[in-house]
Symmetry: D2
Subunit: 330 residues, 4 copies
């Protein structure tokens, strides 16, 4: 944002008034005496109109938002009878991959009992190596949907490539786009065209603006809604898998008014830190948490070390739901 001052204005005074509103600024002077204040993007959000009213300010210039469809999203999103962004946080839980009908049924039973709203689990798995387990594919989708239906849960699962969008969209309430695919534009188009709401994981090193623009692709191509999901960005410390960025969660929730999902399991990859980070995510403004859980993490075909076993998942679910006064009656 650019604030142009009148020739009599004292730039330091106006800078002080901007500071009081939470805006940083830098003075730049034109060759012919004009004085402008440049407001960097790490400033608090503010309606430019309020700045125009400050004495000494003659003009305010800003770029139009590059993502009007994201901006028009409502603060609350109802899917499969649950409300993201309402007074209560939602829990999305399940295993890394859907391993068998019995396993997913046992997991679904437990997470439903503990108050989860959605069942997650991968049928098609993105794996760094072509030789790693790639998921059980289409049959696993059916096992997942059956288990969810039996226990009254909604379904979230990932469409890994354009070919998997149709089968996923047929059975899932929400189609997940993974981190590695955040800017896979062919997939974004296909998921948008499926007509399902999408859950869009943030890319490994994506800026918030790139993430919002990827959401704009989904909406532009037909998605009725997008849930943005933070799952950690690439960090530099070997003691966590990724670096959970709750500042961006607060930004999306506060400035953009969006319901945000946080996946602490992929963020840190450490089962011992998932409960405190889940509580932190909720406090930062997350509308929902996505938690890897497995009834027997030691037998999981992938990502077992970051999955919560039954008792730890129960503790987490109770801690999250107890956190909000509205849940006392639940």
């Amino acid at each position: 944002m650019l604030v142009t001052l009148s020739s009599e204005a004292d730039p330091r005074r106006v800078q002080g008034e901007l500071a009081a509103l939470g805006l940083w600024s830098e003075t730049v002077r034109g060759s012919k005496g004009a004085v402008h204040l440049l407001v960097p993007r790490h400033s608090a959000a503010l309606d430019p109109q309020r700045i125009l009213e400050l004495p000494g300010v003659v003009d305010v210039a800003a770029s139009p938002s590059p993502h009007p469809l994201v901006d028009a999203l409502p603060r609350e999103l109802e899917v499969a009878g649950r409300v993201f962004g309402g007074a209560r946080p939602l829990l999305i839980a399940g295993p890394c991959s859907v391993e068998s009908p019995d396993s997913i049924d046992a997991i679904a039973a437990r997470v439903a009992t503990e108050g989860a709203s959605f069942l997650r689990g991968g049928a098609f798995k993105p794996r760094s190596s072509p030789y790693a387990f790639q998921g059980h594919g289409a049959p696993a989708l059916r096992w997942l949907a059956d288990a969810a239906a039996k226990h009254g849960l909604g379904v979230i699962t990932e469409a890994l490539d354009e070919g998997s969008v149709a089968p996923v969209a047929e059975l899932a309430d929400i189609v997940q786009v993974g981190s590695r695919n955040m800017q896979n534009f062919g997939l974004l188009r296909a998921v948008g065209a499926s007509g399902r709401p999408a859950l869009l994981k943030r890319g490994m090193a994506a800026t918030v603006d790139e993430w919002l623009l990827a959401g704009e692709y989904l909406l532009h191509h037909g998605a009725p809604a997008v849930l943005f999901c933070e799952r950690g960005v690439r960090g530099f410390d070997e003691r966590a898998r990724n670096l959970l960025d709750l500042g961006s969660v607060a930004l999306l929730a506060t400035e953009h008014g969006l319901p945000v999902v946080v996946d602490p399991s992929h963020a840190v990859g450490r089962s011992d830190l998932i409960t405190p980070l889940s509580l932190a995510a909720r406090a930062a403004g997350a509308a929902a948490l996505m938690i890897e859980t497995h009834d027997a993490p030691g037998e999981a075909l992938s990502d077992g070390p970051q999955a919560l076993g039954p008792s730890r998942f129960s503790e987490l679910a109770r801690a999250i739901l107890a956190q909000d006064p509205e849940d006392k009656s639940a």
Copy 2:
């Protein structure tokens, strides 16, 4: 950590048992048939003794901790009559720099009223440019200490260089070492030798291990205690000043059992996100929050845009203190 298997053990089974305990592992095979599992550091914390008891495991090898003095720190730390790491979170509040006796007194009065425990404010300021305001120096220390004493607050302020350690240690309850100085070993020695507890801000891109080792320097040179303070690491997104790393806060609080301080003001630099991130930090396990506040942010000599004004600070303080049931009676 390195786990050596017996020749009959099935590595996949042992890997499963490790996974159930939250440990990732990679199989490596020796030239003569020995099978080891390498456990990377993004695994859950675990006593190696438990692993030795698993069937098929014949040996476990690990490095000794490089920071025994940090490891010996207690979970709770009492300074100036307040307990870091107890049931109640503590608030450390005050301006970026101590600007005048009247200003710091007004700020102290307010933060004391709202339940803060410590007054912070810079007398010696680290500034990227040699031409920026460098703080009012020694006189400001006295203004700070007087205001704190009058309103029943403890004092935390930064020793910017070796020469400022003595005057700071004389008047402050806790001596702050800033991010830029986390590995200024001369300063760490001097602060340690002063005999005061230290607050050690994490460096811009410091790993958790480097941070803990910097704490070890302080303790090795005489500091009676160290409080580790997360204030955001260097990120890549222009929409925040820094990237607040609450995963590391959870790690220090959970695995290391340390009372941790979080400074959300420097982390994001956006006044509109400080309350949600303060609540998040507390939920992640922070023992105390350090908040920039000013009675007139528009008149602040530095960092005004990230300081909370009186009413926003009051809201934050109430939200933080209301979060904990123990505080209801306060």
Copy 3:
């Protein structure tokens, strides 16, 4: 890598011998007295057999390579009559997007004159915003191929999604996979299956191992060859678009013996730095350079500011080709 010592060995002496070979190491001790040295991955490459011969070493354990097909790639790759990895560097040049038959013909004429081997240009463009220019599509592929054929150049262009693989593979000598798609596994499968050699750009924050594994996907699914292309990783400094990582280029060229391509245009986005960074990339071991060039950068539909105009491109081409003695006679 893990080095196990005999019970009589002096670990410090063996560590010294490893250091002399360029290996870092950390001592870990088992619960029953065994002593191992852990060798981290930032050590020099070395055949484990050499370590086994050191006195005091009883065993060496390592993981098998996760990318055997990449490891089997030859040091030189001939495509369309040009050799990547031979004594001469190759130049790949052309505009960001193919804008018209006349424009691409003019550019092809110039780059051919200056000694370039391949013509590049986008028909399908990956753009962060759905509202930005997305390329002229299939017709542009034909314009590109015609211009290349007329001027004796090979063709490299990007397949943006699964649907564009077939048309691209039909006309291009090398199919490019972009940074945003490095782990778009559906696309990697499709490009592999097309039977064309692939140029695989490194992802925004991909580790070298992830990058090599993405190459393994291509080879596993049928690609006859993969050229790895470094184009800068996400950095933290606003003065460049990305951070060019020539250390990884040296690593791939030296340890892995691969012909590597470097794209300095996308790395820094600054036309004034492209020549020194091209020379640097070549010196670090790059087999080829990919340079954005345009006959009228001011009229380019995208990325004009980072494109070299005719005279600067000529200077660059001459500097690169003059750098190698073999080229003196060319």
Copy 4:
């Protein structure tokens, strides 16, 4: 930089003209119709005066440089009879730490024979752990200076803290400030006041602007000259110790006209990559290379794995000096 257009100007046309000059731009519109183009800092360097001459441009506004003393530094710097920034690259070589009179003498003899200009070696060592070897201190300074004098070399060594500035400045031609101390302002003042030229290593995650401002501190406090030394920034890939940023080297050499030093040894920590990265650094515009070398890397007290032994150092020195035609006669 901010470019203000006349009311009749076509913003896209002016954007094209800026693009042709290597400038990116974004259009912002004021509430009263004014149209400005914001030029981000990853654009090519350009004199604002040239932009003022473009048709349709009515004003150009920019911030004054925050580091006028750095800007005034000459392109060439002569110290101890050697010229940084002249036609020939300079070699600075020596061990991590000065270990004994004999060892440093042997190393000095060798590096002098191979054409190095300066001898480096630490007397006071910055170490992450308080329990690691901290250098031999003041006696080592004398051993270093004697060895250098005997073999006709200049001396560069680090002042680790304020107390070591005086002894270092007495014996060294150039006083090194380490990465961890880049923003240790007390040290910068003391080194500046010593009156010696300084070599300023870039901080682990310092932006170029922060680095230049740290240089401004040195100059403001009396340093007659500053050499900026790139040594790798914090990266995310375990296969190198740090990430060498040659884009910043090209930026300092090209836009700022500064003689830059590159330390590839600390950047990658891998002895097998130091020669290609040294050649790359030179090609990117480095005026000098700082290379860790040791006559017996296996006996080095610190950093042995990244030190070049005698024969590899000789190869490197010859490759670097052979690279430049001026050196043929040397």
